[in-house]
């Protein structure tokens, strides 16, 4: 080829970038949903194997209900992971908070509003301590949070003298709206279905708007709007067939609280300056500094938020159980991390996000519950959690490498 031929080719080449060729990125779409689909396949196998025992809406809703503290801890872990930090102290904070919410009422008989304030204050203080150690003193994040985790757990043992705190005769009682039958902590007290329906409608609109933005250049806007709407309608129809109304009616107040908190954290992370700064910090702290972000400040805030969410997880745990036992939330750490890491491969390509954490954490508990329903001893749960965590993270690492 000669140089004289090159010039016209160069002229026409400017605007014909391959990205403008259009078409939905099938590879990316598959990558984002393959883990999700894998889980669905597992559940399909469970359904064939166990039938109604597995597909019972009430039983699966109970799983989520009981798992709510884990999912809240997943959100706590998520916030710090986005900042590029590992907060290993969240489970201990939840245990401490569970002891405080039950103990300060039953043993000290504080006004319950004050008890709740105290729990959150401890969450803020614990998170601030982590933030101070990591940001100001530059202690390695694993060591710092492992250490503070030990301190929080230790405080809970000191406070309870190493025993369980249970309601006894002649003692103060937890408020009836908080714990016991037909309370916040019980499965029986349902969240107003109207609110859930409104939320679902909003979600449908969000999905539609997101799809609309993914319009391939080759398709004309009007046509793509119709396709997007059709996709949303089809998804909604499938969900209705699968028993969406039963699910809406099965949502307890505990799950409702979880959803509201998740909504708030989602808005915070994806639609505020704080969320952007946090993601920039976690991605490249030096570049963030030079772009005018203060990574230390954002990291500190993330630890505080993580502490608050962990304290809330402890409160919900206290509400669900009505008692507090030593190390109550200790075993929640692994599934919480698993849920947060699963979010990078569920409906996402390598990005930590809120809804993936909830879905991941829920799917995780269903995988082990299915085995339990099928007769495998519950002691296998931890093994399953560990394996799914490793598989998910390995998968996301392999996938990230292929994408870039």
């Amino acid at each position: 080829m000669s140089t004289t031929e090159a010039a016209p080719a160069a002229d026409s080449g400017v605007k014909s970038g391959s990205s403008l060729r259009g078409g939905i990125d099938v590879y990316k779409l598959l990558g984002a949903s393959i883990t999700f689909i894998a889980f669905l396949v597992v559940f399909l196998i469970y359904t064939i194997w166990l039938g109604g025992k597995f597909t019972s809406t009430d039983a699966r809703a109970l799983d989520i209900h009981q798992n709510t503290p884990v999912l809240l801890l997943g959100l706590a872990v998520l916030v710090t992971l986005i900042a590029g930090q590992f907060d290993l102290s969240v489970a201990s904070m939840a245990t401490l908070s569970a002891f405080l919410v039950v103990g300060l009422k039953l043993n000290q008989d504080w006004p319950f509003a004050l008890v709740l304030i105290a729990c959150f204050a401890v969450g803020v203080a614990g998170g601030a301590l982590n933030g101070f150690l990591v940001v100001k003193l530059r202690v390695n994040t694993f060591i710092a949070t492992l250490g503070t985790g030990g301190v929080f757990l230790g405080f809970s043992a000191v406070y309870s003298k190493g025993t369980q705190i249970v309601a006894g005769a002649g003692q103060a009682e937890l408020p009836s709206w908080f714990s016991g039958a037909n309370s916040l902590g019980s499965l029986g007290e349902k969240f107003p279905a109207v609110l859930v329906w409104i939320g679902l409608a909003a979600a449908a609109v969000m999905v539609f708007l997101t799809l609309r933005r993914m319009r391939p250049a080759a398709t004309e806007p009007r046509r793509w709007d119709l396709i997007s709407a059709a996709i949303v309608v089809v998804i909604a129809a499938i969900l209705f067939v699968l028993g969406l109304s039963d699910w809406v009616n099965a949502i307890s107040w505990t799950i409702g609280v979880l959803l509201i908190v998740a909504l708030a954290v989602w808005l915070l992370l994806d639609y505020t300056t704080f969320g952007r700064y946090l993601r920039a910090t976690g991605s490249n702290a030096q570049a963030a500094t030079l772009a005018g972000v203060n990574p230390g400040k954002e990291t500190f805030k993330a630890f505080v938020l993580g502490g608050v969410l962990a304290a809330l997880a402890g409160i919900i745990l206290g509400a669900n159980q009505g008692t507090a036992s030593p190390g109550a939330a200790t075993s929640f750490l692994l599934p919480a991390f698993a849920a947060a890491f699963l979010s990078t491969v569920i409906l996402s390509t390598g990005r930590f996000h809120v809804w993936g954490t909830l879905i991941g954490g829920t799917f995780l508990v269903w995988v082990s519950q299915g085995l339990i329903v099928g007769g495998v001893p519950f002691t296998w749960t931890e093994v399953v959690n560990g394996l799914v965590l490793i598989l998910a993270v390995a998968f996301s690492s392999v996938f990230k490498r292929r994408m870039t």
Binding site: T3, A6, A10, S18, S19, S283, G292
Partner: protein, 506 residues
């Protein structure tokens, strides 16, 4: 061979070594046929056919995002190809990397700063052993001296890599691949980050290696280097080879014509210069005896409508001065005075590590510094407005791919530079501190960036161009000064000096 020879460094001695250096057995032919690569739906290479014969010295050119680096990385085995085939000596292979006779020099050289030149040369190879686990240091040292002589680098082999200049490091990296027996060397934009003297040495070393019979494939944006060193120029555009000619048949004009796809708007540029002159020169930023980092007492003023160029060698404190002016480095002494309400924005010097957020989108990378522009009540962001402004900026800077959701890490080097540049534009500050604004960008983009800088100044902003590329200085700057050992030399009017005169100050 006399081991001390390498350290004496006299002219005749060097020639003697060059004559004595062994020839290299010509490499096998490399045949690339129908090579394609896409990242998701983004097709980066759309069918490359290229035959490289043993002994060729190929200059690979093309605008940013043309697919040069992707091609090299596929050959190295960093990426898998989507389709097509690669042959080496008639044999089908999946990659050329990881064989001793093919060496790749990337921008990240893979040298260990804490080890000596000699140890770095042996890295990844079996040590020369005396017996058992004992390393024969003497023999390794001799081999190192020989290797350095072969590429014309005269340094004691015990020197730690960390103490070398960037150009010397690159030379060591080349010596290392030769030492492993490389007969084919790929060099990916190795000179784009080097000061002129260092790139000159590097080009000399490559010419010398090619003269000994090796195949060299060099990616570069610098026309003079390509014309000076190579014997064959391959031009890549939008993932295709659009020209492949002997270097002897080309001159600078022809190359520029091939590379610059947009017509230069000379007239408009003249208007801009006039507009710049008309802007009232209000003082925006003043540095008084500022100390910090390597900088030891610098006075500097920057007025609106003015473009001030600063240059210097790596290690002179040049980039520290940029950080002091921008405020990302606190002054140890002296004063940085900003006029009331004056803000600044920075293009950081090391794009690779400080530029952006690799796994985040173009949009997030562009808007991170100016998020308050789209702030709504409750600290939420007005996503629609942000997206609109982002699309405008993508169009203005001609960033490809034009999708605001594209992952920053998958953009080409020049497009990353444009995104980082766009980030400062969105801040709309009065003072711009631009470090190496044209590093690694193609000729066309370079012109666009110069025009943009002139527009900024015409709009009343003050621009500090901190660069090791003298072309930047003479293209856009009013005044130029050289940083030497943490101090600023006298300012020269850009119109009254020339690159040769300037180099004398460096």
């Amino acid at each position: 061979m006399d081991a001390t020879r390498g350290t004496t460094g006299s002219g005749p001695g060097r020639r003697e070594v060059a004559d004595g250096s062994p020839g290299i057995e010509p490499a096998k032919d490399i045949v690339i046929a129908g090579l394609r690569k896409s990242f998701g739906s983004n097709e980066v290479l759309v069918g490359i056919d290229l035959t490289i014969r043993g002994g060729d010295f190929v200059g690979l050119m093309g605008p940013n995002g043309a697919g040069k680096s992707t091609l090299i990385k596929i050959l190295d085995g960093v990426y898998d190809r989507s389709s097509g085939e690669i042959q080496y000596g008639g044999e089908k292979v999946s990659k050329l990397g990881e064989r001793p006779e093919v060496g790749f020099i990337h921008q990240d050289l893979g040298l260990v700063d804490e080890l000596s030149i000699s140890d770095n040369l042996r890295l990844g190879q079996e040590p020369m052993r005396r017996f058992g686990p004992f390393v024969d240091r003497g023999r390794e040292r001799e081999a190192a001296v020989r290797a350095l002589n072969n590429i014309g680098l005269e340094l004691p082999v015990e020197t730690l890599i960390g103490a070398l200049s960037p150009g010397e490091k690159t030379l060591v990296a080349i010596a290392r691949v030769l030492e492993r027996g490389a007969r084919v060397i790929f060099v990916d934009e190795a000179t784009s980050t080097l000061p002129p003297a260092d790139s000159h040495r590097l080009i000399e070393a490559l010419k010398r290696t090619a003269a000994r019979g090796a195949t060299v494939i060099m990616v570069s944006h610098k026309l003079s280097e390509i014309l000076d060193a190579t014997n064959r120029v391959v031009l890549l555009l939008d993932g295709k080879i659009v020209a492949d000619s002997p270097a002897a048949s080309l001159d600078r004009g022809a190359l520029v014509e091939m590379l610059v796809t947009r017509e230069k708007e000379e007239v408009e540029s003249e208007d801009l210069t006039n507009a710049r002159a008309a802007v009232e020169g209000k003082e925006l930023l003043r540095l008084e005896q500022v100390k910090g980092g390597h900088i030891d007492g610098v006075d500097l003023t920057l007025k609106g409508g003015e473009v001030v160029g600063l240059t210097g060698l790596p290690g002179s404190g040049l980039h520290d001065l940029a950080h002091l002016a921008h405020g990302t480095m606190k002054a140890r002494g002296g004063k940085v005075v900003r006029a009331a309400g004056v803000t600044s924005a920075l293009v950081p010097p090391h794009r690779e590590t400080q530029g952006g957020f690799l796994e985040q989108s173009t949009l997030e990378n562009l808007t991170i510094s100016s998020l308050s522009r789209w702030r709504a009540p409750w600290r939420l962001l007005r996503g629609g407005a942000e997206r609109r402004d982002t699309n405008e900026m993508i169009e203005r800077l001609n960033i490809t791919p034009g999708d605001p959701g594209a992952v920053f890490g998958t953009l080409s080097g020049g497009n990353k530079q444009k995104v980082v540049f766009g980030r400062t534009l969105l801040c709309a500050p009065q003072v711009y501190v631009l470090c190496e604004p044209t590093r690694g960008v193609d000729v066309g983009t370079r012109m666009e960036i110069y025009k943009l800088i002139e527009e900024l100044a015409a709009g009343g902003a003050g621009v500090l161009v901190v660069t090791s590329d003298s072309e930047d200085l003479f293209a856009v700057c009013n005044r130029i000064a050289v940083v030497v050992d943490g101090r600023l030399g006298a300012f020269l009017e850009a119109e009254e000096t020339n690159p040769q005169e300037l180099e004398a100050f460096i």
